[in-house]
């Protein structure tokens, strides 16, 4: 079974690569990045082995590998998504049990750039501890445990969240959990940073303390085994080994539970069921023009589609992280807090840009009805505005209030809204050329490609780059207003003026391109559907 699944995964990968140049580029870039990480970390391991004391090796390896484990979970949830090439739902009709699938799915799941890179880097643990025999043997034992823990924890986290997002009852809870996890990480990073402080003399001690703490969390149990052995703490080593094994076993069982669920009831179709109230305020708000209809439909999707909700949560995560990060510091920077809402404006581009991809083949309706491209663009922007304008206003007010800098209110409003307008306009235009693709609605919202793949990445970079250049005058005036009184009003005028012009331009240009490019857009957004 393992061989069958691995072969299946490789065949699927090969076919995907043969069909798309962008995928090849993505793979090559990813591989280069992975090689870079491996090279740097091995240089570190060798240096540790040669010059490091037992305490130093313990501190660095335990902290670094605990961070890697946390990174797996955080990245798969918030950034990259998990590889759904071998989605368990696809095996639903075959007479295979979760128990039989599991080993194969584990191996196939690790057979990707992140998995391979993590495994290779983890083997460096053996190099770092190769100074004496006992720790080296312990490291050899710890590596597979640690790597498997990385994979299983990330699976469990995404499966649990996907499950929550697909049921109405827990949907909002899951969004909040997502947002809070970002905040939690920010606090964690800061606490560690504070513990270390800026005094180099205190480094050694804090490193040791941090490693000791991390080594007793589930993230570090496995990785800390060789360290305990090297320090002669046999009892701690045994306890950690036991805990690490128990964790793997528990995760394995938990994963099997979710696998079984997806084998018998795929996420698809269970999501968003129930009656909806007919008519309603949404229709009245946007009117009955085609543009208004698109806006009303978009707003409904924001509410009913887990993928949109996950996206919405990620909008709030970044500014929350920035603010909280400032707060746990000894002297919070008022300015940073006041500027935090700007991060929402910058990520807003992805939200606008992914709208087409999220629709998938349902977009055919817009083509069949002969909807004008500019009505499509304008309608979606209206919907985004209906959600983001209140959100931005609240966040700006909150940040200004928290910082106690009401004198910066106008400047903050000008920069935040000016940039938001520019980004939306630019994204409306550029996303027509690189709409990307997303897993179908009802699919796993954390599936790979939930952030658009390479094409999505390209369009994000392009949108952000162009937007920063275009909104430079607004940002310049806003920042200058810190020193010259009255400039904030210029920033506000510039923000609304430039932003308004860019939105109008984005709608018109994007609309015209869309009218010409419907078939190409359709092909791109249906790339993941079969």
């Amino acid at each position: 079974m393992v061989a069958v699944l691995v072969r299946l995964k490789l065949t699927l990968l090969k076919n995907a690569l043969l069909r798309s140049v962008l995928k090849v580029v993505g793979l090559v870039l990813g591989a280069l990045y992975g090689l870079g990480v491996i090279a740097v970390s091995y240089a570190g391991f060798v240096a540790l082995r040669a010059y490091g004391s037992v305490e130093l090796i313990s501190g660095v390896t335990v902290l670094a590998f605990s961070a890697v484990t946390l990174g797996w979970v955080v990245f798969s949830v918030l950034v990259s998504g998990i590889d759904e090439t071998l989605s368990p739902a696809k095996f639903a009709l075959l007479p295979v049990s979760a128990r039989r699938l599991q080993p194969g799915l584990l191996v196939a799941g690790l057979l990707g750039i992140p998995g391979i890179a993590t495994t290779v880097v983890a083997l460096g643990l053996v190099v770092a501890w190769s100074g004496s025999v006992a720790p080296a043997v312990a490291a050899l034992l710890a590596v597979p445990l640690g790597v498997v823990t990385c994979f299983l924890l990330s699976r469990l986290a995404t499966d649990a969240l996907a499950e929550m997002l697909s049921t109405r009852r827990f949907r909002d809870l899951a969004v909040v959990a997502l947002a809070l996890s970002g905040v939690g990480i920010a606090v964690g990073v800061n606490v560690v940073a504070q513990g270390v402080g800026t005094d180099p003399a205190a480094w050694g001690a804090s490193l040791e303390r941090g490693a000791e703490i991390a080594g007793w969390t589930p993230l570090g149990w496995a990785w800390a085994v060789p360290a305990s052995v090297a320090q002669g703490q046999w009892l701690a080593a045994a306890a950690r080994l036991l805990l690490a094994v128990a964790l793997v076993v528990a995760c394995w069982a938990g994963w099997r539970h979710f696998l079984q669920r997806r084998l018998t009831s795929p996420l698809e179709g269970r999501s968003g069921s129930g009656k909806v109230r007919p008519g309603g305020a949404v229709d009245r708000l946007f009117g009955t023009s085609p543009k208004g209809a698109v806006a009303a439909r978009s707003v409904r999707y924001w509410r009913r589609d887990p993928r949109h909700l996950a996206n919405l949560a990620s909008l709030v995560v970044l500014p929350a992280m920035v603010v909280v990060l400032q707060f746990v510091q000894p002297d919070p920077q008022d300015l940073v807090i006041v500027l935090a809402p700007l991060t929402i404006s910058l990520i807003l581009g992805t939200v606008v840009a992914f709208e087409l991809a999220y629709d998938g083949s349902a977009l055919a309706l817009h083509v069949h009805t002969g909807l004008r491209g500019r009505d499509d663009r304008a309608g979606r922007l209206l919907a985004v505005a209906a959600l983001v304008v209140p959100l931005l206003t609240v966040v700006v007010l909150a940040c200004v209030a928290v910082a106690g800098r009401w004198d910066l209110l106008v400047a903050s409003l000008a920069m935040t809204f000016g940039t938001a307008l520019v980004v939306s306009g630019v994204a409306s235009w550029i996303s027509v050329f690189w709409p990307g693709h997303a897993p179908p609605p009802g699919g796993n919202p954390f599936g790979k490609g939930s952030s658009g793949g390479v094409e999505g990445m390209l369009s994000f970079l392009l949108v952000t780059g162009v937007s920063v250049v275009v909104s430079a005058p607004v940002l310049a005036a806003g920042i200058a207003s810190l020193f010259v009184d009255g400039l904030e009003w210029l920033a506000l005028a510039l923000g609304l003026g430039i932003g308004g012009a860019v939105v109008a331009g984005g709608v018109l240009l994007g609309g015209r391109s869309l009218d010409r490019r419907w078939p190409e857009v359709m092909r791109s957004v249906t790339a993941l559907e079969t």
Binding site: V276, P278, D283, P290, A293, E520
Partner: protein, 253 residues
């Protein structure tokens, strides 16, 4: 000039090395019920996609009631209603919301949208589920709501890809009645199917396509030439006889 409702002129489409549709020519007379039949992979859906603006042809034109789909899409699309196959609907909307959405996109008067969608939901037996999300509909119900979407702006040409697939016999009969009265009122229907019985009962004109080409086209009786459509179809397409010994392991008894 508008005697021809749909005219496909030398449509050509290839995907890489695979030619899906090759120089396909077809004229559909206004007021006819036109059946497009062909084996799996014959290019039916590809052809309909090119005629409705979803897929850009490599060469050739598609003209709907005098308007070129690719040169004057707005005019062409306003005149046709489409039921695509293998395409998602905006299924996080309820049936009623979806119909309203389509109506408004097509700039139908909002009051008219409401009355028409009420009548369509009633006729197709979807009234009870009108406020349920389309994602929870069965395959047949999804087909029916798709058909309602194609009808809501009272188009003069209907392009239906597998309109009765997965639809239960009672609703199937309703849909047939709707389509018949639509054609009697001067509308034109082009439907694709591989159910010969459906085509034989419903259509007055038929085209048989295979490997992206039109093998035969004409009135139903011309194509049948005295035999059953099924028989003629298999002859035209080239059916293959199942060997006596083939798949013998399936006979378990």
């Amino acid at each position: 000039m508008n005697d021809i409702a749909l005219s496909l002129q030398g449509l050509y489409k290839s995907f890489g090395a695979k030619v899906a549709v090759a120089d396909l020519r077809l004229d559909v007379r206004a007021g006819s019920m036109f059946g497009l039949v062909g084996p799996n992979g014959a290019g039916k859906t590809t052809t309909l996609s090119m005629a409705t603006g979803l897929l850009r042809p490599d060469a050739g034109r598609a003209v709907v009631l005098g308007a070129d789909v690719w040169a004057d899409p707005a005019a062409a699309k306003a005149r046709m209603g489409v039921l695509p196959d293998g395409v998602r609907l905006f299924d996080r909307l309820s049936g009623r919301e979806l119909l309203r959405y389509v109506g408004l996109l097509r700039s139908v008067d909002p009051g008219l949208v409401d009355t028409r969608s009420g009548e369509l939901l009633e006729a197709l037996g979807l009234s009870e589920d009108a406020d349920n999300l389309v994602v929870d509909y069965s395959a047949g119900m999804t087909k029916k709501i798709g058909l309602a979407c194609a009808l809501i702006h009272a188009p003069r040409l209907l392009l239906l890809d597998e309109p009765l697939e997965a639809v239960d016999p009672v609703s199937g009969e309703t849909i047939r009645a709707i389509l018949r009265s639509y054609v009697a009122g001067g509308g034109t229907v082009v439907l694709s199917s591989h159910v010969m019985e459906l085509v034989e009962n419903m259509c007055d004109t038929v085209a048989v396509i295979a490997q992206g080409r039109v093998l035969a086209t004409g009135t139903l009786d011309e194509i049948r030439a005295g035999e059953s459509l099924q028989r003629r179809f298999v002859d035209l397409v080239g059916g293959k006889q199942l060997d006596e010994e083939a798949l013998s392991w399936l006979r378990s008894s």
